[in-house]
Structures are given as C-alpha cells and as structure tokens.
C-alpha cells in the first residue's frame, strides 16, 4: 500500500489557506477563507449551493486563480514565487509541477474517453511522473484492484456505470501519489444506488490515513468519515469543528437551519 503511507511526523499543516479571496468580476465568491489542514485529516466541506465550496477546492488546485491572499502546500506558496521583495506568478510548467502533489476528483468524473480504464490510470504516472510503462501499468492494476475494478482494465469509460467511472477517477488521482486528495462533490452526479460504492472507496482511503478535502452533500457520510466539518455559506466559513460534534450540536443558527433542510 505504497500510496497510503503517511509521514511519521503528525500535526503538520500540509495545506494552509490564508484569507483566500476569489472574485468573478464584482461577485465575491470566496471571502477571506482561512483553513489549516493537518496531515491525515479528512475535512468535509458542506454548505448550500453557491456557497463557494467547489470554487474553494478548484482554487486549491489552481484551476482557478485567487485574488488574495495565499495558499501553501507543504510550506510551498502555490502559484507564485518570491523575487526579492516582490511576488512573481509562476509559469505553466511550475504550476503543473505543484499540481502533481494534489489529486482531484471531479463531480462529472471526466475520464479520458479515448483511453481504456487502465490507460486512464497509467496516464499520470507514465506521462507526467516519468514512470516506466511497465511500472505504471502494475501500479494502475493495483489501484484498480483496490477500487474493485480489476476486471474492467481494458474497458473504455463509456462502457462503465457512473459509479464505476468515479472509482476509476479516484484511482487515476491516487496514481499520482498526491499529498492531498481533493473531492469536488464526488457523488452528486450519480444515481442514488451508485453513491454507496463510491463513498465506500473514499471511506477506505480515510481509514488508511489519506489527507483529504471533500466537498459533499452527504451529511451522514461526512459525520461518519470526516475528522472535521467546515460549513460554508456566502463564500465564508460560518462554522467548523470535529465532525460528530459539529453536526450533532451546531453552534450557529445558519448551520442548524442548513442541517434541518438537508437531513
């Protein structure tokens, strides 16, 4: 289980968000969000539609640029470098290098349709990390076995159900040996009967100690596997705390109202 070995030193901020601001024109989507995530933590971000939670994970992955202040991954500033007293934006090559340390799972799976399941999972290690094709294949088979799809290696994504596609997408992200896995509503596009199989894979990762940030609408799931719950509304963090406690005894009216609506 080489993908899951966590570093020996606990309590290190692997991800650090400092007053993050994101605007679309005059619309402020993320409003001064600060968040420190330690290694091995599983953070569930919940909140109503349009609260900015998906945008937040896209910002962490630099799929969106932020307008302020800073995000650090393992102590490294994302997207910029210090040049004397100034900050200079990184080029696409450096940003690509930083992205390799984060795994991303999208709501719509977004597998590569022209590649088989196995090729999808091999693509990152073979093309980006520079692993040999043989190593990448072995690794892909191993990961596909872990998400329960060992018999689908030669299938094309179009032949799979949504739940199976999402499990391939998780294996594809894991193949990059990311420091943090980001999930953007991984079960929102699935038929209800397929949600369980994806959540059980995510739950296995949580048990194995993978650091994860999960944007989700599945409150029961968040309560079960998350170490921390972050409730966002209107681009701000309204409340956060240990999952069980926060979801059972919300301190703010807004979280209480939200929970009563969705549960």
């Amino acid at each position: 289980m080489q993908t899951l070995d966590t570093s020996a030193s606990p309590q290190r901020h692997v991800l650090r968000l400092n007053n993050v601001v994101k605007r679309y024109g005059s619309l402020q989507v993320i409003n001064a969000v600060s968040l420190d995530i330690d290694e091995g933590e599983v953070v569930a971000i919940i909140g109503p539609s349009g609260s900015g939670k998906s945008t937040l994970v896209r910002c962490i992955h630099q799929l969106e640029t932020i307008e302020g202040e800073a995000i650090y991954l393992d102590g490294e500033l994302l997207g910029y470098r210090h040049e004397g007293a100034h900050l200079r934006a990184l080029g696409p090559r450096d940003i690509a290098r930083q992205r390799r340390q984060l795994g991303m799972v999208f709501q719509q799976f977004v597998l590569f349709p022209h590649m088989t399941v196995e090729e999808n999972v091999m693509e990152g290690p073979a093309q980006v990390l520079g692993d040999s094709p043989a190593d990448a294949r072995t690794r892909a088979r191993h990961l596909l076995g872990r998400v329960g799809l060992a018999d689908k290696v030669t299938a094309y994504p179009q032949m799979l159900s949504g739940g199976q596609q999402q499990r391939v997408a998780i294996a594809r992200a894991l193949a990059m040996r990311p420091k943090v896995m980001l999930f953007d509503e991984p079960t929102s596009a699935l038929d209800p009967e397929l949600v369980g199989e994806v959540l059980s894979v995510v739950s296995d990762l949580a048990k194995a100690g993978k650091t994860m940030v999960i944007v989700t609408h599945e409150i029961a799931f968040a309560r079960e596997i998350a170490t921390r719950v972050v409730f966002m509304e209107g681009g701000r963090i309204i409340e956060q705390g240990p999952a069980q406690e926060t979801l059972s005894n919300p301190k703010t009216d807004r979280l209480r109202t939200f929970l009563s609506r969705v549960m």
Partner: protein, 332 residues
Amino acid sequence: MGPESDQGSRTTAQSLECEVSTMMQGAMAISSTLAPRLSETPGDSTDVATARHRTSPLRWCVTVLLVLMALQVVYFMFTNPRFEWAVVGKYLFSANVLQGLGTTLLLTVVAMVVGTVIGTIAALALLSDFKPGRVAAQTYLWAFRGTPLLIQLIFWYNLAYLVPKITLGVPFMAPFAEWSTNAVITPFLAALLGLGLAEGAYMTEIVRAGLSSVDTRQHDAARALGMTPAKAFFRIIFPQAMRFIIPPTGNQVIGMAKATALVSVIAMNDLLHSVQIIYNRTYEIVPLLLVAVFWYLAVITLLYAFQSRLERYYSKGHRRDTTEVTPASAHT
C-alpha cells in the same frame, strides 16, 4: 388487424410512401373484416417476428427506373465510338501520365501536410487569449479564404516580379544572406505555397471546430494530473478533437487531389497537364481526359478507404458496438 398493419418505421423521406400505404390499409381493412379473424382467437400463435416485410410500390418503380438509367449509361459508354476506349487503354499507363499522377499525389500529400500544420497553429492562435495572435490568424483566414486559389497560384509563381531577391536578416538592416527569387520559387514550390497556404485557411476552421468540440472539463482533468499545456494538448485534447477533425479533413483531401489540377496553369507537370500535353499533339481530347478521370477516381477511392480506417481508429471508446459488452448504464 393482421400483420399487414405493421408499417415499420417512418422517415420524412417516406411521407409519400406513407400516403400510399394509408390508402392500401383502407382497402385491406375492408378485406380483413370479410376474412376469418384468426388473429383474434385467444391463445393464438401470432408473432410479429414471422411477418413479411412490405416494400412500397413506389420503391419498386424507382428501382426499375434507376436500373434502366444505369443500363442506358453503360450502353452509351460502350457503343459511342467517340470515347475511343482503345486510345484510353493506350495512354492509361504511359510513362508521362504516370509521372503526372506521381506529381499530383506528391502535391496532394505535401500540400495537405503543410495546410494541416498551418491550420493547427492558426486554430490554436484563434482559440488563445493572446490578442495579437488572434488578429493575425483572422487576417490570414480572411485573405486566403477570400481570394480564388487560381489567383493565389499565379501570384506565387510570379513572386519574382514583386520581390526579385529573397533576403534573410533583421528588417530594415543589411541582410545576412540573399537569393534570387526565380531560383528559389520553382513551379513546385509556387504550387506548394499556393495550395498549402490556401488549404491552411480551410484547415484552421476545421481544427478550430474540432478543438472546440472537446469538453472543456477535459482541460481541467488534464491540468489536474499535473500536465503542462503542451502535454495536455497532445495527449488529451488533440486525440479527442481528431474524431471531429477527420471527416471534414477527408473532404479537404479529396478537394485537394482535384484542386492540384489548377497547377497546370503554372506549368507544373501534374496529371491534368500530362494529358493536356498529349492531346494538344494528338487532338484525342475526350479519351485523354478519360485517362485523367480514371486516375483521379482511383486516387480518391484509395483516400476514401484510408479515411474510413482513420475514423475507426480515432473513434475508439466511442463506438456503439463496444457499449454492448457491459449492460450497465453508460451515462448518469
């Protein structure tokens, strides 16, 4: 009603047929009320799988008409002595004609390659957020799609009139090197420039449409794997765009194979020019044009077969027949 009520699926093109069949149904409805109603007895063995397919009488008429026309054409071609088939046979494989065919093939391939490369670069410029690049690409499209290919070819052929010397160097400074334009712009290069640059303009639109057809989320997924923009383009975006690029490009190649005939005006010895040289001497115009027609059709038939193979290759993962392996729902 019996099996005669089974009409099969209708298409709009069959609307006329439907009218006819409605009339026939009326007539049959009367006859079926008189006939014993076997199909309505309980527990019968009615099975539509055993039904006979009906062919509309209109289709019978059209089929007969088409066969008659085909026979007429064949009869005309083999009995009209002015086709001079013996002359066609004499020149079909003559060295000059085959050499012309070679030139036509070479020009088609090289001009298409040049056009595709230019078209891909211009399409990327059009789709980029770099405004000078977009403006340059749009200007190129406007100029090269907006003027007749024949004029462009003559223009390149006569480039020496405008620019007697081709120089290499920094603008407005003394050049590092220079060549006589007439020595550089051979008829072949003029043909290549003319065909390639014009083709590039059309390919730009085809490639742009192909690239735009790829789901934007695929860009996100490629970037999320830590790919550089170039890697994402060549590994993820372009292979998917090919599925949309190949069919119209096939059309372009066929158009190009025929457009090369235009280079005969700049003294390029292509297929058309090679037969023109012969019939200018022998006055056997019709049979020699038939020789050219035969080879153009042969080339295009080959290209067509090649296109089908290429289309099949780039549609992997999208083919209908591969979806049957797993009965699970393919989309959610």
